[in-house]
Amino acid sequence: MSSMILVVDDSATIRHQVRACLQAAGHTVLEAENGAIGLQKAKDYPIDMAIVDVNMPVMNGLEMLANLRGVDGKKSLPVFVLTTESSKELVAQGKKHGATAWIVKPFKADVLAKGVAHVLARAA
């Protein structure tokens, strides 16, 4: 089933990688280069899921996540957090802000695609 997925990362390379892997799985991908733009796109488009980097300029991923949970209809939106290091504090913060899961960079495309498919199927 095709879903609309928002990818928020300040690295165009990472966005490109994620886009390629999700498009190959038949999903529509929206991109944003920071949390603020991501949050706006999440409000404007009927997205089914978001994949969010932590460290970004303007608004970081965790702030975006916290704000997103306050948006109508996005309380239980599945969100994957992309991290370089899955430190205890970071994971705790992610959980606090309602991250569904976190994926450690560098990630494998097939692993990400599987995780996305699994979470989308559960949410459906």
Binding site: D10, P57, S86, L90, V104, V111, K114, V119
Partner: protein
């Protein structure tokens, strides 16, 4: 036939050895059986009385029958023999009941033989049943022949006795089977357990042997995170001895907290089951390093359905492989540096001296605040990239990643790694560094001062004093040429191959030590110009610009102002974008001076992503700081699409001390 006979005999005969359990069990049952038979005495007296068959005789005969079990119970050592006595006694009791029960229900009293035979299974010994069956056969046949009224209340023919015997045989066969099964599976359980335990112990010993000698660390972690006792010996050698009940996170934390954290986070995620198992497994840390050793970590979940039962962790010591790779990389880097030192001795020494200071500042934690530390790391990374010391650049990159995510100083492991890599590099470059010293003409500072003093003392020798001073100075041409070469190298890496560098030095010379910090920071501006400023050739073509771009580097003096200028004919600064970024970062953004100031602000970058060369927003703030240190100011002139010029303006007196100033200092 022989085999069948043997099988029957094996069923009847119990193994000679008695287990403690059987001993205790038979002692208890034999005692109960004895009391059971003692209770027959009053019952038989009553039966004899009711049937008028002689209560006195009942007392006598029953008491006689009881002698056997009571004596056996008190004297026999082997409880199985006591049980045999009970088998024999039981049939005597059956016979006595039939005898004293003479009358209309005498035949019914025969049921008691069958009830007793069944009860004998409790001794778990087929021999007891066979003995009882033999006893009753002899008893019945003999009494039928000699005292028939003791057995039948009518004139029973032989075939009736044989029918009774046939029933006894049938019941005995079945009861023997039950008794033996009872023995094997209940009474003999201890024996079975012992045998199995022995087998398991043997297997465990073999497994232990494997676990003690295998070179990989094999261990299992339960769903509660606790490390199982059975694990290969190297696990405890590598991670320290695991206490009973210790979690794997605790074991890892002893050697590497970062890996312990990452493992804990991934293990929690695996336990939550939000992601498919293979995805969760992929989030576990796959390598760790401590005490100068490198390990690979692999994981295999052991599942029951979808539930995690255990996680198999395989630790592999990769130190030798990593060291080999490291050695090869380091050798390549050393060769490249030696090559560079031959091409540009001064440049190489400057890189080396600067890197020494930067590594010291980072690894000894001398940077006062986080922005300064970030700048220092960033500068070291950039310089290392320029001189192709990728191993150092990579450590810097990892530090930057860790810092940008945690907003804290990099952990000690990374600092240590940097310091150690630097030490090795220093060692391997000793040959070159020593050679530099050998080639130099050495003069002590006091001798040098004396020469200048003497030259100044004679008015006609003022020129000589200036010449002597200039020995210590560096021509800006060499410096600018070096910068230009760096720019072209960066360009090559970024696919911008035809960058033209124009140099106008104005014949100026500078005091090297005084300007070292500035030139270190100047690299950031050069990197920005090449990475962000100059477009790729196709993009330039599309905009009607010729070639790969021109970088102009110049130094000049005018009206007491010494200026260093760098100009590129690239895409220029997008001031609107700077304004947006400045506004987002809460900086003043109204006037062009505000925007210029914002451009040099720590952490502000107009790039949405960082490359290895630039984009983390720390470079320009570093050059501003270096410029202000020499009492200078920065001017920026840039038009979108046309290019960017940075001009650094200083009082000309800052260029170098005069001979008099030098002596005064």
């Amino acid at each position: 036939m022989k085999d069948t006979l043997k099988a029957i005999l094996d069923t009847i005969r119990l193994p000679a050895e008695l287990t403690q359990f059987e001993d205790r069990y038979l002692a208890r049952v034999n005692k109960i059986a004895t009391w059971f038979f003692v209770l027959h005495l009053p019952v038989f007296v009553l039966v004899a009385y009711l049937n008028d068959t002689g209560p006195g005789m009942a007392v006598l005969l029953t008491a006689a029958a009881l002698i056997g079990p009571v004596v056996a119970l008190k004297t026999f050592e082997n409880p199985r023999n006591v049980s045999l006595m009970h088998g024999f006694t039981s049939m005597l009791m059956g016979g006595l009941l039939v005898h004293f029960g003479q009358g209309p229900v005498q035949i019914e009293m025969h049921f008691y033989f069958f009830a007793l035979l069944a009860m004998l299974a409790i001794f778990a010994n087929p021999m007891v049943i066979l003995l009882a069956a033999g006893t009753v056969a002899v008893h019945h046949l003999a009494l039928w022949y000699f005292l028939p009224e003791s057995v039948f209340n009518y004139d029973a023919p032989l075939w009736v006795v044989l029918v009774h015997a046939a029933f006894v045989v049938l019941e005995s066969v079945a009861t023997c089977y039950i008794a033996r099964s009872f023995f094997d599976n209940v009474i003999g359980l201890e024996r079975i357990v012992q045998a199995r335990t022995k087998e398991v112990d043997e297997k465990n010993k073999q497994m232990r042997l494997v676990m003690d000698n295998v070179e990989q660390g094999l261990l299992t972690v339960g769903s509660d995170g606790v490390v199982a006792q059975e694990r290969s010996a190297v696990v405890d050698r590598w991670l320290g001895e695991c206490r009973s009940g210790e979690t794997f996170v605790d074991s890892l934390a002893r050697v590497d907290e970062r890996t312990a954290d990452a493992f804990e986070a991934a293990f929690d995620q695996l336990g939550m089951g939000i992601l498919p198992v293979e995805c969760s497994i992929d989030q576990f840390p796959s390598e760790m390093a401590f005490d100068d050793r490198h390990f690979g970590l692999e994981y295999k979940p052991i599942l029951r359905g979808e539930e995690l039962v255990q996680l198999l962790v395989v630790l592999t010591d990769r130190t030798a492989i990593v060291r080999q790779e490291q050695l090869e990389t380091e050798q390549r880097e050393t060769m490249s540096l030696i090559e560079r030192s031959r091409e540009d001795q001064v440049g190489f020494l400057e890189f080396f001296d600067e890197a020494k200071v930067l590594v010291g500042a980072i690894s000894e934690d001398l940077c006062e605040d986080l922005p300064l530390l970030k700048r220092t790391i960033h500068t070291l990374k950039g310089n290392s990239m320029l001189y192709e010391v990728h191993s150092i650049a990579k450590v810097c990159e990892r530090m930057e990643d860790a810092m940008s995510e945690t907003q804290r100083r990099p952990d000690a492991t990374l600092l240590d790694e940097l310091a150690r890599r630097w030490d090795r590099l220093k060692q391997s470059l000793r040959v070159v560094l020593d050679a530099e010293e050998r080639d130099a003409v050495q003069i002590r500072p006091e001798q040098y001062r004396e020469l200048i003093e003497k030259a100044l003392a004679t008015p006609t020798h003022r020129e000589l004093a200036n010449m002597l001073m200039s020995l210590r100075l560096e021509g800006t041409r060499e410096r600018l040429e070096r910068v230009g070469e760096q720019a072209q190298r960066i360009g090559n890496r970024l696919g911008k191959r035809d960058i033209r560098v124009e140099i106008q030095d104005g014949g100026l010379r500078l005091e090297p030590a005084r300007w070292a910090t500035f030139w270190q920071a100047f690299v950031h501006v050069v990197r920005n110009a090449i990475d962000h400023g100059l477009e790729l050739e196709e993009e330039r073509g599309a905009r009607g610009k010729a070639g790969g771009g021109t970088l102009t580097l110049s130094t000049s003096t005018e009206a007491g102002v010494f200026s260093i200028r760098i100009h590129d004919d690239g895409r220029g600064i997008d001031w609107d974008r700077v304004r947006t970024k400045a506004a987002a970062a809460g900086l003043p953004h109204e006037t062009s001076a505000d925007l210029e100031a914002a451009l040099f602000h720590d952490g502000l970058t107009t790039r949405s992503e960082a490359t290895l060369y630039s984009g983390r927003g720390v470079g320009l703030s570093a050059i501003r700081a270096a410029c202000e240190e020499r009492g200078g100011e920065v001017r920026v002139a840039s038009r979108l699409g046309e290019g960017t010029a940075f001009e650094f303006r200083f009082p000309a007196s800052e260029m170098a001390p005069s001979p008099t100033e030098y002596l005064a200092a």
